[in-house]
Amino acid sequence: MKFFDAQTFSRLKEGLAKTRDVLVTKVNRLVTAGSKVDKQFLDALEEILIGADVGVEMTSEIISNIQQRVKDERYENQDELQRIIASEISKAFTHSVSERNSSDNGQLADPLFIPHDVKPYVIMIVGVNGVGKTTTIGKLAYNYKQAGKDVVIGAADTFRAAANEQLEIWAERAGVKIIQQLQGSDPAAVAFDTIQSAQSRGADVVIIDTAGRLHTKSNLMEELKKIKRVMDKSLSGAPHEVLLVIDASTGQNGIQQARQFHSAVGITGIAVTKLDGTAKGGIVLSISKLLNIPVRYVGVGEQIDDLQPFSAEAFTAALFQGNVHVERQSP
């Protein structure tokens, strides 16, 4: 399945070209101001990267790589220096481009790709409290629905007050079916029922919401494991995707979050939310490298169509940008 049609694709490409320009200008300013790679220049670069939550370790790594390349390649002009910097930063993401769905030009992955032989394709959504799991599910469901898929949502956040109601509204907006039980019921049972129901109606995609939980609460992480085990019992191989949702404003704690969730349920992809603010989400650089898992989506607003496929290039560009994060194209 190709989710993005040709038109969307070209729009995204245009958007990327635009952000590339911004990157060039911003680094250009840096280069012109410093005129050579001296301590001042590197300090400024460090401030940009750390200020974007890239983290001390990752930042040192990137900077020493740049230093090395500058030394080896003896850049001739600013253009070359810019190229070196940009490529070193986006290189950190190369690990993260998903193999199963990279598109022809190798630049843009299709994060909504679904294998033909898996039906229903089950996606489990996990993350700490308040990162935007439910909103992301609404957007995902909408996108799949728009692509002609039959989608069922499972409301397995049975803990938080009014979580059911919130998801119900999103399901309604997306025009998809939702399976839910009363608040306080067993989340694993909800997940089980959802998959059963999806199977019997021949649905294409199942999205299971889970309650937000801090990764340090071992009992809640056990619960998450159980939900996953039960899903596999309901349909062997499920869930096919475990998506970790990370708030773009998250600092270095994001690494712990990712580690703990990964060791509990095996994360297969990341979604970064709230990138429409001034937060840069640099922490996903470290996460995606550490766990070798791809960043699949970015959330850039509260509207149902504000979910975009991740692009390492646009993301890198945005690190150097003032406000707007991902270029948004109006049709």
């Binding site: 200020g51 939550d53 998250t250 429409d276 603010g277 406000n323």
Partner: protein, 440 residues
């Protein structure tokens, strides 16, 4: 809470502790590590820079060089600087003398405003006030329902109007509070991005119209470098009075607390430490700084204990400890008291030096249930004289409690060790060691 920062600072300072004298070189090295620790803890880049400069200047001054224990002095300087950064004393929220007092809650999406609003209402109610919660988040699906559910839980009325704008709801709620003799109005607003001009204007209008006595900015403790930008933007628009730091029950290092404080110069007034309605604590800057430096937060622990511990029982227990007559039955009673105080890991995090014991979040509350079950399966005689528990008794207890003989053995062994330590305390030895070893 703040544990990782504490651990790392301790590691960075260990070298200094061993040094006889401070040289410019070894300070520089330690400060580089402190810098890294603070950056890893999400303290803002510029704030860290200023902080390190200040500490360096003060450390190289006369006082340090003349001192006999330079390591301690550096820790003191860092500690004092941290306290200064976070505000030197705790501050309460402002309540008006003529009711109703109006409290406006603002912040980004997902920071925990709704949960905090309900927790605050519960706290004020417990202090004898009659709060009214106001559901002014008209955007997020089911936000109003969420507040209604929480209001029911804590038995505080919630002002709801599903048709009007946030501004009208806020205005009407004040009238409603007057008519219904509610003396404190807590307005829960929608999460908004500081760059969303329309939404920022909305909350400005609400502020102008209801004239809150207190505006609180709610921020997630896991926030990174951007905390400074958002706090500053909200502060420019609302001139808020205080900050609420949420989700501190995780392992986030909470550097945002330092950054925000130093950028907007407004105190942190509360911290959220769990999803339960009573997981709200006042913020004590000096205690927090002590905690960061691994000195623990013994004052909070003692206060908590005082709140819940039955005084008489505590006195009896103390006597028993002194006379080394501590039995499994006392241990069981004590467990029940501890359970009243809050989560175990939360309590442990307040114990001095506990950060050095490794990841405390691993303390499994479930294990306590096993311990309880084992003790419950003992006869009174066995509880009072654990020494009589022989092999066949162990087997019976294991079966009775649904555990294994190994687990019974483990508990008994730990108990005997504890008894030994209690004896030491009775003789006035190393209280700290007892506290930190008890759970391991």
């Amino acid at each position: 809470m703040f544990e990782t920062l504490t651990q790392k600072l301790e590691a960075a300072l260990k070298r200094l502790r061993g040094e006889g004298r401070i040289s410019e070189a070894n300070i520089a090295e330690s400060l580089r590590e402190v810098r890294r620790v603070l950056l890893d803890a999400d303290v803002n880049y510029k704030v860290v820079k200023d902080f390190i400069d200040t500490v360096q200047q003060k450390s190289l001054g006369q006082e340090v060089i003349s001192s006999l224990s330079p390591g301690q002095l550096i820790i003191k300087i860092i500690h004092d600087e941290l306290v200064a950064l976070m505000g030197s004393e705790k501050s309460d929220i402002a309540l008006s003398s003529s009711p109703p007092s109006v409290i406006l809650i603002a912040g980004l999406q997902g920071s925990g405003k709704t949960t905090f609003s309900a927790k605050l209402a519960r706290l004020l109610k417990a202090k004898g006030r009659s709060p009214l919660l106001v559901a002014a988040d008209v955007y997020r699906p089911a936000a109003i329902d969420q507040l209604e559910v929480l209001g029911k839980q804590i038995e505080v009325p919630v002002f709801v109007n599903r048709k009007d704008s946030a501004l009208t709801i806020a205005e009407n709620s004040i009238v409603h509070a007057r008519l219904n003799a509610r003396d404190t109005v807590i307005i829960d607003t929608a999460g908004r991005l500081h760059v969303d001009e329309e939404m920022m204007q909305e909350i400005e209008k609400v502020k102008k119209s209801v004239q809150p006595h207190e505006i609180l900015f709610v921020v997630d403790a896991m926030t990174g470098q951007d905390a400074v930008n958002t706090a500053k933007a909200f502060h420019d628009r609302l001139n808020f009075d205080g900050v609420v730091l949420t989700k501190l029950d995780g392992d986030a290092r909470g550097g945002a607390a330092l950054s925000i404080r130093s950028v907007v110069q407004k105190p942190i007034k509360f911290i959220g430490t769990g999803e339960k309605m009573d997981a709200l604590e006042p913020f004590y800057p000096d205690r927090m700084a002590s905690r960061i430096l691994g000195m623990g937060d013994i004052v909070t622990l003692v206060e908590k204990a005082q709140e819940t511990f039955d005084k008489e029982k505590a006195q009896k227990l103390e006597q028993k400890i002194r006379k080394a007559q501590f039995t499994l039955e006392d241990f069981y009673d004590q467990l029940q008291e501890i359970k009243k105080m809050g989560s175990l890991s939360q309590m442990i995090s307040m114990i001095p030096g506990a950060s050095r014991l490794g990841n405390l979040n691993d303390v499994d509350e479930k294990e306590l249930k096993y311990v309880e079950a084992i003790i419950q399966s003992m006869t009174i005689e066995e509880r009072q004289h654990p020494a009589i528990v022989n092999g066949s008794r162990r087997k019976r207890i294991a079966t009775g409690s649904g555990t294994s003989v190994q687990e019974v053995n483990k508990l008994l062994k730990q108990f005997f060790e504890m008894q030994k330590m209690m004896k030491n305390i009775g003789k006035g030895k190393n209280f700290n060691r007892m506290l930190t070893q008890r759970f391991h």
